[in-house]
């Protein structure tokens, strides 16, 4: 093995040592949902944000709360409602009668981990305020600008079953989420274990095992993970196939795709691929890493047409077709 990769591998091994520790600690509280926990780690280490879709009761809140507990980081949960205002989220100026001055009152967004619960229940201006903070990682209240805490991870949830009276996120806003994760019900065995755990006298609690500094160092290590040109080309092929499937011999998909992944899709797929390699404690990316995370990176970036809906085709089935057709390096 060449010296460079060896060095990278060693560094990755060293920096990712906490991953197993973190997983073990999270597993004390969260039973099953391994994919969701992995995606949380991808978002955390890839410095991105996650849009989570799943029916209520699938441990979404518990997962991010546990992650925060494992790192001794600050966690805030914001319930998005139709009457929520941007000031309720980012904070506002309050008049102090004692000194006769306006003082800044920071909102719940000033935390390391934010759970934006049912983000689509709030109007566009609140969604926009959150998404802007997510992107800029800073908030301006009055005339003062505040940097948000690091690490900063927003996990927004959407309920797929109750769409009445909601404000669906615009495509441009959805694109800002690194991953869109779909959570499914736990297996029978997992649910039995969950049931037993929750009715037991002592509910397990996660304890801090990682510092936020470890996370920041790990993020730096993610960037040095080696990605070969062949993998870069593979990522581009996948993303370009969502835009022009006919160029990849998938003319049949053309009428079903309204628009494909943006350049942000390529960036995030590459970054998520590196994080996948990192959490698998490898110093280089292999096609498996890309394929494992491709659905979560692309599903909210590939919009399907009415024809596709009529044919009961989803963005997932289109991505699957693309993954099955584009040649692996």
């Amino acid at each position: 093995m060449s010296v460079d990769i060896q060095e990278i591998n060693e560094k990755v091994q060293q920096q990712s040592a906490f991953i197993d520790l973190l997983r073990t600690e999270i597993a004390k509280v969260i039973i099953g949902q391994k994919d969701m926990v992995n995606r949380l780690l991808v978002g955390l280490l890839g410095n991105g944000h996650i849009l989570l879709e799943g029916v209520p009761g699938l441990a979404k809140t518990t997962a991010i709360k546990t992650l925060a507990s494992c790192m001794d980081a600050q966690f805030h949960r914001i319930q998005f409602t139709p009457d929520l205002l941007p000031a309720d989220l980012i904070g506002t100026m309050i008049y102090n009668q004692k000194n006769g001055e306006f003082q800044t009152k920071q909102g719940p967004i000033f935390a390391n981990f934010i759970l934006a619960d049912e983000i689509n229940r709030s109007p566009a201006k609140v969604q926009s305020a959150l998404l802007e903070a997510m992107q800029e990682r800073q908030v301006t209240i009055g005339e003062e600008t505040f940097r948000l805490k690091e690490p900063f991870l927003v996990m927004a949830t959407q309920n797929p079953i109750e769409q009445e009276g909601t404000y669906p996120l615009p495509e441009a806003q959805v694109d800002r989420f690194m991953l869109k994760v779909i959570i499914d019900y736990p297996s029978r065995e997992e649910e039995l274990e969950i049931m037993r755990q929750q009715i037991a006298s002592a509910i397990p609690v996660a304890t801090p095992v990682v510092s936020t500094e470890d996370i920041i160092r790990a993020r730096e290590a993610v960037h040095i993970v080696y990605m070969d040109e062949k993998i870069e080309k593979y990522i581009l092929d996948l993303v370009l196939a969502t835009r022009k499937p006919e160029d990849f011999g998938m003319e049949n998909l053309k009428p079903y795709i309204s628009y494909g992944g943006s350049p942000r899709a390529s960036i995030n797929l590459a970054l998520a691929g590196k994080v996948m390699a990192f959490i698998n404690r490898r110093g280089y990316v292999i096609p498996e890493d890309i394929r494992a995370i491709a659905y979560d990176v692309l599903r909210h970036r590939v919009a399907v047409t009415y024809e596709a809906e009529a044919e009961e085709l989803t963005s997932e089935s289109i991505i699957q077709e693309i993954l099955n057709t584009v040649e692996v390096p």
């Binding site: 060449s2 460079d4 280089y284 990316v285 498996e288």
Partner: protein, 349 residues
């Protein structure tokens, strides 16, 4: 005077009685007819208003004459009586003096009995056609030819012209259609039978080995091509989309196909070595390269009979043991064609 008054009363009573009777008058236009001639008869019936009169509608009502047709009936009131009149066309075929008359059926109010009022007879003479027996017999007359009017000819001419135009238009339309039709595509040449997967793989492996790629320092190119040959073989042989699958997925597929586990293990080692070289800047040593190549040969040899019956396998081995003809067409040409250079393969990928 008394007697006169009695006479008046009697007369009035007699007149009133007769007023309740039905009187029928029958008259014919002429008293002499040729046999078969139509006779115009006029029937007049005088009857009280409340009586129902039934005029004849067939020959039954006429005496010594046959009914031909009738006209509409007219009626008018006259002195408390209704006067009905109707014209008939009659015919008779008896040459003699014939007494013709009519019987009118009528019904009194509240009485269903059919009463008949008969007209007095009218005598007519029905004559035969007079034949002059002194003259000679004449020949039967020629058939009369009705002259054809000009417009019939005109119609014929127009019809024929329209028919000719239609035929011409159809001919033109068919000609245009034939011209527009693309020329029939030449029949596709019969496809060459596909080269068996193992022959394809062995030829490419030999070519890769012969080109001394890794010996020339092109480690990544060698491993890329080796991996591609192995995957190409698996795709052809096992009908799995190996070129679109990762090494892990290929190994999983091989397990699902029931390939021997030791063989899979060796294949996995070879593919992992190729992956490391391709994606992790790994530089395998000579032993690793040779091992990869040897594994590839071995895997192909061991699995070439996969999915075949014993007879098919035997037939395949026999076919392989036979010397190939020197000039053996395209199949052999393709089989012996050197594999794509690694750099080119890399570009394509």
């Amino acid at each position: 005077m008394k007697r006169f008054l009695l006479f008046i009363v009697f007369l009035a009573a007699a007149t009133g009685a007769s007023a309740q009777n039905v009187r029928v008058e029958f008259r014919i236009d002429s008293s002499s007819y040729l046999i078969g001639d139509w006779m115009q008869a006029h029937v007049r019936v005088s009857a009280p208003e409340e009586y129902r009169i039934v005029f004849p509608h067939d020959s039954e009502g006429f005496r010594n004459a046959e009914y031909v047709s009738e006209d509409s009936m007219f009626s008018e009131e006259s002195g408390g009586q209704i006067l009905y009149s109707k014209d008939y066309t009659l015919i008779t075929f008896d040459t003699a003096l014939v007494d013709i008359g009519v019987d009118i059926e009528y019904y009194k109010p509240g009485d269903t009995t059919a009463y008949v009022a008969a007209s007095p007879d009218t005598r007519i003479e029905v004559r035969l056609v007079e034949i002059d027996t002194t003259e000679t017999f004449k020949d039967i007359k020629e058939v009369l030819h009705v002259p054809t009017p000009w417009w019939v000819y005109a119609l014929w001419i127009i019809g024929l012209a329209a028919l000719a135009y239609l035929a011409w238009w159809l001919w033109k339309w068919n000609k245009r259609r034939m011209e527009e039709q693309p020329e029939p595509e030449p029949e596709p040449e019969p496809e060459e039978p596909p080269i068996p997967a193992h022959i394809w793989a062995l030829e490419h492996l030999r070519s890769l080995e012969g080109r001394k790629v890794w010996e020339a320092g092109m480690h990544k190119e060698f491993q890329s091509e080796l991996s591609e040959i192995i995957r190409g073989y698996i795709e052809r042989k096992f009908e799995v989309k190996a070129l679109e699958e990762t090494s892990g997925e290929i190994i999983w597929e091989m397990r699902a196909k029931g390939v021997e586990s030791q063989l899979i293990k060796e294949l996995q080692t070879a593919l992992e070595c190729a992956d490391l070289t391709k994606f992790a800047k790994y530089v395998p040593d000579a032993v690793a390269h040779r091992s990869g190549l040897k594994t590839a040969y071995y895997f192909v040899e061991q699995t070439k009979g996969w999915g075949m019956s014993a007879e098919e396998e035997l037939a395949m081995e026999r076919a392989q043991s036979q010397p190939e003809p020197e000039d053996d067409g395209a199949a052999e040409q393709e089989a012996t064609q050197p594999a794509k250079p690694a750099e080119e393969a890399d570009d394509v990928r």
